[in-house]
């Protein structure tokens, strides 16, 4: 077929090209963000959780940590930022996608010519915006109340950038994967929150690394959260605080490796396990 006939057919109303996935993903992202912010209790629940916990822990435990040149409060700020990133990505996606599947929102989308990638791209936009907002809020609280200082070294900001992006992506993919586990939307919260809570305890979000038994740390080292906490401590705490780490250093290279591996592994897990329908629907 020649280009001329092609053009004529288009003018006569022949087949037009299907819209590109990335463009639809962008529009879906805008729609997801709109929906998210219109559900006020969801906004409050998602954002307030890490902030409330930061206030509680950083206010209760505020003594100087011997030999590290930091206060316990300061230690909590990066840890809660990491937990905040995981809340906005892993927890909120794990729960909301399970509910969307149960309420057949996913099945409806599957019945349209929307490419599946557009759905996931939309979720990534949502998580980028909410995760960024959460991180900024926690950082502002840390600076205002708990003596955290913004790094002056541009390299540290670069580290922050990739830790944020890799951590957020890994956790978002894990959230999408876990959304297939609960049988109904109603059970989603418990299924998602329990493992997340356990992970926060053994990854040193609530309790300092030094008090957690080694075997627990070995388990948490398999998952992204521990490394996100460690990386953010490396960005926002003075070098002297490195002595508190398990390895005695920030281990940025290793962090990049683990988070990067989770991005790839999480993507594979999603591709293998994602379901558009509930198990009941076959």
């Amino acid at each position: 077929m020649t280009t001329t006939t092609e053009r004529v057919r288009t003018r006569e109303g022949g087949p037009r090209r299907l819209p590109a996935a990335w463009r639809l993903g962008f529009h879906r992202g805008a729609l997801e963000i709109k929906q998210f912010f219109r559900l006020r209790d969801q906004v409050v629940f998602t954002f307030a959780f890490p902030i409330v916990f930061l206030f509680l822990f950083a206010s209760i435990f505020s003594d100087d940590v011997t030999g590290a040149g930091v206060t316990a409060s300061q230690l909590y700020v990066p840890a809660m930022m990491a937990a905040g990133i995981m809340t906005t990505s892993f927890q909120s996606l794990g729960i909301s996608i399970a509910i969307e599947r149960d309420e057949k929102v996913l099945r409806r989308l599957r019945g349209t010519p929307m490419p599946p990638a557009a759905y996931f791209i939309g979720k990534i936009w949502l998580v980028l915006v909410t995760g960024f907002l959460e991180t900024v809020i926690l950082l502002l609280v840390g600076i205002t109340f708990y003596d955290v200082e913004l790094p002056s070294d541009a390299m540290r900001w670069l580290d922050f950038g990739w830790i944020f992006l890799l951590g957020l992506t890994a956790c978002a993919l894990l959230g999408i994967a876990i959304s297939s586990v609960p049988k109904t939307g109603k059970s989603a919260t418990s299924v998602v929150v329990l493992p997340f809570l356990v992970l926060q305890f053994i990854s040193g979000v609530y309790i300092s690394i030094g008090t957690i038994p080694d075997w627990m740390l070995d388990i948490s080292a398999v998952f992204p959260l521990k490394w996100m906490c460690q990386g953010l401590r490396g960005v926002f705490l003075p070098e002297s605080a490195q002595v508190l780490e398990q390895a005695g250093s920030w281990e940025f290279g290793r962090i990049a490796l683990v988070l990067g591996a989770w991005c790839v592994g999480g993507l594979l897990l999603c591709l293998l396990t994602f379901r558009w329908k509930t198990r009941r629907d076959g």
Binding site: P15, R16, P19, L24, Q35, R38, V105, R108, G111, T112
Partner: protein
């Protein structure tokens, strides 16, 4: 890709689907022509939804051949999905968005969408364009579901029990909407367990029961074919009402004339309605 005018829009042969020990669809054949409104009529659990879900490409089948717009739904592509509109049995539109936002957004998924404002007007929701979906009534949400089903300008529209739970006025409005879409040339497959609905809308219909097509044809044709027996009713001399089912009502009336010697008290002769035919075909006779 484009189906020819003489090709069937939906062609199903020997369709079977089993859930564990339960056979939902037990060898169904269906042929739906381009541009017709086809009613799939049957009681709950007869296999209607399973059949439609297989046609949508949303459920696997155990056996049989299925062609929808010339394609097996198992191999559904984006291009195929853009030609098939679906109106789901249960609502799932995002409650926090407005009618306008939702319809305009869904229009983006399609290569040649209809004008969103026009579609909103078509389903009679122009007053509700700016309302959140959670604020709509049940009937309004169903109309939004139809809007989302037709926004892509489909060649085939699959509606699964679209008016369940409607009040009579809302049902009439909905019928008007379906007729308007049919007039535009859309091929429509509609499942329902309301007989009057099938009779009012469908050019042809298939009655299914226990996973099988028990009758197929135009509504009037079905009535003539399966409704040969008439019911003769009268009041007996002791005052009790009597009815008799018969293939020869004239003879019965003649006999009664003879017995009563003239005027027969409370005489009525009724040809079976489509409903009687339907209840008999689906084995539900005497349940109402």
């Amino acid at each position: 890709m484009t189906a020819h005018a003489n090709e069937l829009a939906v062609d199903v042969r020997g369709l079977r689907k089993q859930y564990g020990d339960i056979t939902a669809v037990d060898g169904i054949d269906l042929g739906i022509r381009q541009g017709e409104v086809f009613g799939l009529l049957g009681p709950n659990g007869a296999g209607k939804s399973t059949t439609v879900e297989i046609l949508q490409g949303n459920r696997s089948r155990d056996a049989g051949e299925v062609s929808v717009l010339g394609t097996d739904p198992v191999n559904a592509t984006r291009a195929w999905r853009s030609r098939v509109g679906i109106v789901w049995q249960d609502e799932s539109a995002p409650p926090e968005l407005t009618v306008g936002e939702t319809v305009r957004h869904f229009a983006r998924y399609y290569p040649r969408p209809r004008d969103p404002e026009e579609v909103i007007g078509l389903v009679g929701l122009e007053q509700k364009t700016g309302s959140r979906i959670k604020a709509l009534s049940g009937g309004q949400r169903r109309r939004l579901d139809v809007a989302l089903g037709v926004i892509g300008g489909p060649d085939l529209l699959l509606l699964d029990e679209p008016t369940t739970g409607f009040d009579p006025a809302a049902r009439r409005q909905f019928w008007e909407l379906i007729r308007r879409l049919a007039d535009e040339g859309t091929t429509i497959l509609l499942t329902t367990h309301y007989l009057e609905e099938a009779e009012a809308l469908a050019d042809r219909l298939a009655v299914i029961a226990r996973g099988l097509v028990v009758a197929e044809g135009e509504p009037a044709e079905l009535r003539d074919r399966f409704g040969t027996e008439a019911v003769v009713g009268w009041t007996d001399s002791d005052g009790s009402p009597r009815t008799e089912r018969t293939g020869t009502p004239t003879r019965t009336v003649a006999e009664l004339m003879h017995r009563f010697d003239g005027e027969i008290p409370g005489l009525r002769v009724a040809r079976p309605t489509l409903e009687d035919v339907y209840l008999r075909l689906t084995g539900q006779e005497g349940t109402r």
